[in-house]
């Protein structure tokens, strides 16, 4: 009977949260979190309760007004329908992905917490509720994965602490005098990561108690890309947003890794909301993979198949969401590198499945662009070159060839899409500087676009003839894209004019001249 108490506590808290306001509602939210922590303690071990510290602190900091907000009939209906649907989906997933021999209502509580967060995020009554929803989603992702793949108390507490990041993204900016030094520090760290990856000794992982980070070549490269993008392209004062991304790619514990990615998405969507729903759906899809991995032994082998499909689908959805803003600058490379790391364990038959999905995604990207133009000729159209590069990126990631060219092409395209093809601020370049910037953003050698796209075609052909031909068609389209796009680049928040504006062109030319050095960093 005691095993059902967490679920009971959760539902009581849920009803209280929906039916009250102010401190009572805050207490109810914390009650729901306590229910999830209790469930986690029973499912895994009591040490996992440390996970709850972060989300509870975040909920305490998210003070709400005591006055109830007026709600219309339509709004109320929508909210009720959303939470019921979310809870049903959560129950279904909990039933399909059971943790051990535990009762369904016990193992479902972390899933219910995620459903609550998703409902508040999808149909918020006000902005704080939306933020609270993001906090709960990040916390729930950590809890669900911790239940499937247990970790020590330090890792659990760090995973839970990721729930504080959405709050920080909403409310905290670096003070003005610290912004430039912080950016420069991030750049210096990126250079260190590149040097260590290129010529340094091979370091497997760094361990502190039960918390460990992996610093192999590919991860160091991912860290360098994220730090450089964070330093040069994030909104002013939000340069720190690169750090959850770094944690996401380097943490070895899946619970912490995916929670950090969720936190990064939350920060990104707090800053710019374009594509946020798709990004969260992609996160949910990708977040299923460690859970599937955790429960794979206890269910049928079809979970491995679903895992590959979830990886592919999540990647496609994330690419579709990454049109602009921090999602594109930080979330896309972080997710992409995570998928590349996860691909290492996918067996060949399932890799073909993933390649199919990537190819479908590439076709979808182009078809969506054409369709949007056919539906509304006068409306804003996507940047054709970006869409084609995204499609090539999907093919490159899915290629996983023995020569490592797919991974290299993907890394180059991440740099291109996340760092180079972003309009930091409309600048008037002239003379040699203008020519250098034009070259850096062009399809000509030695720009990174040329290197990434060419290698993507080669890698795709290594995977299969169909992928290779599709990649060649995309490359042909890429040559024609400037006719349609002109000089359009993805918009990004304006930043003050500084030497950091040279980061993008310099990176483009450096990576385009010597992609073989990046291949060496990948150490494949």
């Amino acid at each position: 009977m005691i095993l059902y108490l967490p679920a009971a506590l959760f539902f009581v808290s849920l009803l209280m949260a929906y039916g009250s306001a102010g401190r009572r509602r805050q207490a109810a939210t914390i009650g729901a979190l306590a229910a999830a922590a209790w469930s986690l303690a029973l499912l895994v071990d009591p040490g996992s309760v440390a996970w709850a510290i972060g989300p509870m602190v975040a909920s305490l900091l998210l003070a709400r007004t005591g006055k109830r907000l007026n709600s219309s009939f339509e709004g109320l209906t929508r909210r009720v329908a959303t939470i019921v649907a979310a809870l049903l989906v959560a129950l279904l997933l909990a039933a399909r992905l059971p943790v051990g021999e535990n009762p369904l209502l016990l193992s479902a509580v972390p899933w219910f917490l995620g459903a609550l967060g998703a409902a508040w995020f999808a149909s918020p009554i006000d902005q704080p509720e939306r933020l609270q929803g993001q906090v709960l989603m990040v916390a729930a992702a950590a809890a669900v994965i911790l239940a499937a793949v247990p970790a020590g108390p330090v890792t659990a507490s760090l995973a839970g602490a990721m729930a504080l990041v959405p709050l920080a993204g909403d409310r905290w900016r670096l003070p003005g005098r610290l912004q430039l030094p912080f950016s420069l520090t991030l750049l210096a760290l990126a250079i260190v990561a590149v040097v260590v990856a290129g010529i340094g000794p091979s370091i497997a992982r760094i361990v502190l108690f039960d918390f460990s980070v992996d610093v192999s070549g590919v991860i160091l490269l991912a860290i360098a890309v994220l730090l450089a993008a964070g330093a040069a392209l994030t909104p002013i004062g939000s340069e720190w947003a690169a750090l959850p991304g770094v944690l996401a790619v380097s943490a070895t514990a899946p619970g912490l890794r995916w929670a950090a990615l969720g936190a990064l998405i939350a920060v990104a969507t707090v800053l710019a909301k374009e594509g946020e729903h798709l990004a969260w759906i992609a996160f949910a899809t990708l977040g299923l993979t460690p859970v599937l991995q955790g429960v794979a032994t206890s269910t049928s082998t079809s979970t491995i198949r679903v895992q590959a499909v979830a990886l592919g689908l999540g990647l496609v959805l994330m690419v579709l969401a990454s049109r602009a803003g921090v999602i594109r600058v930080l979330v896309l490379p972080a997710t992409g590198f995570l998928v590349m790391l996860a691909l290492a364990s996918v067996a060949s038959p399932n890799l073909v499945r993933l390649q199919w999905i990537a190819a479908l995604g590439a076709v979808l990207l182009v078809a969506r662009m054409v369709l949007a133009w056919l539906i509304d000729r006068g409306g804003r159209i996507s940047i054709v070159r970006d869409q084609l590069l995204f499609a090539l990126l999907l093919l490159a990631i899915s290629a996983r060839d023995s020569l490592g060219l797919g991974a290299l092409a993907a890394a180059l395209l991440f740099i291109d899409l996340a760092v180079v093809r972003i309009e930091v601020m409309p600048e008037r370049w002239s003379g040699t500087a203008a020519r250098l910037v034009l070259l850096a953003r062009s399809n000509w050698p030695p720009a990174v676009t040329f290197a990434g796209a060419s290698l993507a075609v080669i890698a795709a052909l290594q995977a299969s003839l169909a992928l290779g031909l599709l990649a060649a068609l995309l490359l042909a389209g890429l040559q024609l894209a400037p006719l349609l796009d002109g000089h359009t680049l993805a918009a990004s928040p304006e930043r003050p004019r500084s030497a950091l504006r040279w980061v993008s062109p310099a990176l483009s030319i450096a990576c385009g001249v010597a992609p073989a050095l990046l291949l060496r960093m990948l150490r494949l």
Binding site: A367, R368, A472, L480, P515, A516
Partner: protein, 517 residues
């Protein structure tokens, strides 16, 4: 001097001259510097070629910056022969441009960079590097760093898209044998699809010769010889070399021979009715290239020598044809003589060799369409030749006369330029061709080149100066019954729910992927 440094000398000469011209814009001496640097680069390539032992090839690696595209130079008979011919042609074009008065444009940096890029194409050590060099060549000749630039956009994009065929060929080689280096690819690596992929950039470049003469005629056009025909010829010959000097199968060879010969016939026929002099020259060059392509389909040494001769000599011929001759000047009659492909011209030597090879294989009837194409070309080229009014000893006169001299004395280029290049493509046994100052002997048949040239010159001279004969010309097709280009119907507007259909289709496809066994 170490070989690694020697191999870089042509590039250093060209890029050094470009740097000097960049630092001192609009100086009169820039042109001379460009001519000297390009000429020196060509001579260096020639010296390297002469020092090369028969069948020898040298790979000079420098860096590995691009995976599977080591920054390395390939020195063999084919690359050095093409580099020599291309660079000397480029130097002659620059010299011709230098002698012009009245044109105040300063093309030297662009031409030097284009020559360096063409040199990079020819010296590239592997297929992937070759693709990169071709992209650089496109960037150099178009100058379109800004990709939205309208200047010759269609042509530039066509070439870029066609070059993807080469990228796929490189990828195919990497997939098959783990490298795209010319030394490491076995001759059976490439099949018919790969050959056709590589043929795509070749065909587009040859077609570009005909398409690029539509605008106002430039006094000296650098592109036909250096940007289009030299890379096209080199690319095809290199591909043949990688395939062991023969096409994948006999049907392919027959179809390609037929297609190329038909193209030559069509081009020569069009040249016959073309009124514009520049267009006519371009069409004749394309006919010449098409015949070279037709002879490239052969699998025996003599045929390989024939097509190598044609491709190599086509580059300086295109060069001299790209220099606008003054009315009544000597080049106005010498250049059409070269383009006519009649006995006494450089092209005819190659065609004669090809004919011998076809005859040896019992395919003499294959020479019939070639002969018709030659006849049409001769009529088109010589039909509007006017008697020269003056004889100025300017570079184009020497150049055109030099080509006729090469036809009269094939020994000048046969032993040290053509045969080494052909021997790189496939083995050419000793004695296949014996050249002497009076002619050549191939397959046991002599070709008295000197005597033939003298007779032809005498006959033509007599015809033009005494009898005032003029070849028949047909009226131009221009302006008659213009073909109305069909207009595409407007694309329909799609309703907004089209998005749901698209996403639904995607969901169904993903479900199928998930459930397939």
């Amino acid at each position: 001097m170490p070989l690694a440094a020697q191999a870089l000398l042509p590039f250093l000469a060209l890029l050094g001259a470009a740097a000097i011209a960049q630092r001192r814009p609009r100086r009169a001496s820039n042109g001379w510097i460009a001519v000297a640097a390009t000429g020196v680069a060509g001579i260096i390539a020639l010296v390297e070629l002469l020092r090369l032992a028969p069948g020898e090839h040298v790979d000079v690696p420098y860096l590995t910056t691009f995976p599977y595209a080591d920054l390395a130079i390939r020195l063999d008979g084919l690359s050095l022969a093409f580099a020599t011919v291309t660079l000397i042609t480029a130097a002659l074009l620059m010299l011709a441009r230098l002698r012009l008065r009245g044109d105040r444009r300063d093309p030297w940096i662009s031409w030097l960079l284009t020559a360096a890029a063409a040199c990079a194409v020819i010296f590239a050590h592997n297929l992937l590097l070759l693709y990169i060099a071709l992209q650089l060549l496109t960037l150099a000749w178009s100058g379109a760093l800004d990709e939205t630039s309208r200047r010759r956009r269609g042509l530039r994009l066509s070439v870029q898209v066609a070059d993807i065929g080469l990228l796929l060929a490189a990828a195919s080689a990497i997939q098959s044998v783990g490298t795209s280096a010319f030394s490491g690819v076995p001759s059976d690596t490439f099949g018919l699809p790969t050959f056709l992929l590589v043929l795509l950039p070749v065909v587009v470049r040859v077609a570009a010769v005909a398409l690029t003469t539509g605008g106002p005629p430039a006094a000296v056009a650098f592109e036909p010889a250096i940007v289009w025909l030299a890379p096209a010829g080199y690319l095809l010959m290199r591909m043949l070399a990688l395939m062991g000097g023969r096409l994948p199968d006999r049907p392919t060879a027959v179809v390609l021979f037929a297609a190329a010969t038909l193209a030559a016939l069509a081009m020569a026929g069009l040249a016959l009715v073309e009124r514009s002099g520049a267009h006519r020259v371009a069409l004749l060059l394309v006919a010449h290239a098409a015949l070279a392509l037709a002879l490239s389909t052969g699998a025996d040494p003599l045929m390989t020598v024939a097509c190598t001769w044609l491709w190599l000599l086509l580059v300086p011929l295109a060069g001299v044809a790209s220099v606008r001759a003054a009315a009544g000047s000597a080049p106005e009659i010498l250049t059409p003589l070269n383009l006519a492909m009649i006995p006494g011209s450089t092209a005819f030597v190659g065609l004669w060799l090809g004919g011998l090879a076809l005859n040896a294989r019992g395919l003499l009837f294959g020479t019939i369409p070639v002969a018709v194409a030659v006849a049409l070309s001769a009529i088109a080229a010589l039909g509007r030749v006017a008697r020269p009014r003056s004889l100025h000893l300017d570079p184009p006169t020497f150049w055109a006369a030099g080509l006729l001299l090469i036809a009269a004395f094939p020994v000048v280029v046969m032993d040290h330029l053509v045969v080494p290049a052909a021997a790189t493509v496939r083995l050419v046994p000793t004695g296949t061709i014996v050249a002497s100052p009076f002619g050549i002997i191939a397959g046991g048949r002599p070709w008295p080149a000197l005597v033939v040239s003298l007779v032809v010159v005498l006959l033509l001279g007599l015809a033009a100066w005494r009898l005032g004969l003029k070849a028949p010309t047909l009226p131009s097709l221009k302006g008659r019954g213009k073909i109305k280009a069909p207009t595409l119907p407007a694309l329909p507007t799609v309703p907004p729910w089209g998005r749901f259909v698209l996403w639904g289709a995607f969901a169904v496809a993903v479900y199928n992927v998930l459930t397939r066994p």
